[in-house]
Subunit: 329 residues, 2 copies
């Protein structure tokens, strides 16, 4: 079994062989193969630019792997400002000794996810660090997209309806359950997926998103609290309207986590004008039947997230604190 050696990151012959013989072949793309110091792109108008590093452990989990999440994460950050993801980069930090077949699987997963998301991987970088200086592989992707309809958090306002594109907590629960020391058995899959197609369907239907954000680290709770703070308004949420699968709920009960604080990788929050609410939920449900309208932004001057349960009782949904789950993405 061939392994990654320090020489694969040294800038010499071995690195050229790895890049030309493996990485370029898998990503297979004209701009990348031109082998210039930078990719040369034709783009115009307003652009979105985003970056994310991925350190998820384990690197493979039900429903995805670090390669898939690395492409989805950045492509989704672009989609959330109303941009069509176009180009992404791939920078690898690899631990000496990684099995080359494992690297091949991760790169292939990046390529197929990039194809699904409609983006080309046009530039990259490869570093190898000695055994023990990183944990297997870390991937950074950065992305450039064309803004189709500019969506900014500052457009949030009183009266806006808050919609959620699916059930929450799956990615966090799956990664947690996949960690060796836990050995939890479940059929749960991560929600990890590219989101631009959903955004495109919303825009094509004439819906103007006031704000969008994928509920990654810190989950639903982090996004809602950030939004409440950004628009200086209370946000009222109905607890019953938030879908959580039985399996996620089960894992949370065993381990003492809050499903609203668990990371998602293909589930997002959308704020719309009241007139767009019904149509937007219909469109979201074409992609995930668990999508729902979960609340609204109130006309107040505070910045709390208030959650009401089915008995009418309310409590604050606090911003997440503490360690939560490290290395979830």
């Amino acid at each position: 079994m061939q392994k990654i050696m320090l020489a694969h990151g040294g800038g010499g012959q071995e690195m050229n062989d790895l890049i030309n013989g493996l990485i370029f072949k898998i990503f297979n793309n004209e701009i990348l193969s031109q082998n210039n110091d930078s990719a040369i792109l034709n783009l115009s108008g307003k652009l979105a630019f985003s970056t994310d590093s991925f350190v998820v452990s384990p690197t493979k989990f039900p429903g995805g792997d670090i390669g898939k999440i690395a492409v989805c994460g950045t492509a989704n950050d672009l989609a959330m400002v109303g941009a069509k993801p176009r180009y992404i980069s791939c920078a690898l930090i690899i631990e000496e000794g990684l099995d080359i077949n494992e690297l091949k699987d991760i790169l292939s997963s990046m390529k197929s996810t990039a194809d699904e998301a409609g983006v080309a991987i046009v530039c990259g970088d490869t570093k190898v660090v000695s055994k023990g200086s990183c944990d297997k592989i870390f991937i950074n992707t950065s992305g450039v997209g064309e803004i189709i309809k500019e969506v900014r958090i500052e457009n949030l306002k009183s009266g806006a309806r808050v919609l959620l594109s699916g059930d929450v907590g799956r990615h966090g629960a799956v990664v947690l359950a996949s960690r060796n020391e836990l050995r939890l058995q479940s059929h749960l899959q991560s929600d990890c997926k590219p989101l631009y197609k959903i955004v495109e369907a919303l825009l094509n239907a004439g819906i103007t998103p006031l704000a969008m954000r994928d509920a990654t680290r810190g989950g639903l709770s982090a996004v809602l609290n950030e939004w409440a703070k950004a628009c200086k308004r209370d946000i009222k949420i109905s607890e019953d309207s938030i879908a959580v699968s039985d399996e996620v709920m089960g894992i949370c009960e065993i381990l003492g986590f809050e499903p609203y604080e668990l990371a998602n990788e293909g589930t997002f929050l959308l704020a719309v004008e009241p007139k767009d609410e019904i149509r937007a939920v219909e469109i979201l449900r074409e992609f995930n039947s668990n999508a729902n309208s979960i609340g609204e932004i109130l006309d107040s001057n505070k910045s709390n997230v208030i959650m009401q349960n089915s008995y009418g009782a309310t409590r604050f949904m606090e911003p997440p604190k503490g360690e939560l789950l490290p290395r979830i993405c």
Copy 2:
């Protein structure tokens, strides 16, 4: 002394405090502070896009640190295709336990280098991994630049003159000498610096670069061999014309390295038409008196780099092989 904790990467309150209270304050830039999922940029025409991860060890060395090198590396990759660097991203992977003051110094160094290079740091990401899962701090920067004059490696051709912007091997030698286990004493400084100002001066003088490349990992030797391969021509180099400082030569003699294979972080190769040679060298010397014309691309069908010494004897400058220096950038 405050330390980075896992909670600083968890997506909750502590991460918000780190990002808003430290990172945004140091980088201090309007686009970043808008806090959208992606930076929203106004750019037009042809763009350059590049990425690099930095894992240099030690993180601080004479003439720079990981923050400075992270900005220079990506800004220079943009400059090498004839692009004016405009925007960069900053993605941090931090080991739990890193002293926050050390992080502050690194971020401040990124900011001052970005100012010098004329780029704004407009988006970012912060991950924290548990102690032992990475070595102190790894930084990825990706960059977007506006192409002023498109420079592609495919323009290399017979007759082109090969120019070198300064003496070689300083960055590699300095990092090597800084490693604790060696304790070599020298006054040598890394050549790490942003290069676009030099490129701009060349373009302003009406010089059309056929190709440019900064001689980072694998050094001068890697770039020349890559160029010879890309244009399928021999490249002939005069050994006497390549400046190497006495200190770099000394470190190489002690440790058995070849100065032409040592990394540089602010020194580049430039290929120009014969008519542009003299003027281009003059301009390069305004920035570094060691700049020189070092050779030319021959009219042959091989891809060797042939180095001639002062006695007229020739030998091949082989492409670098093996481990070279790990974690040099």
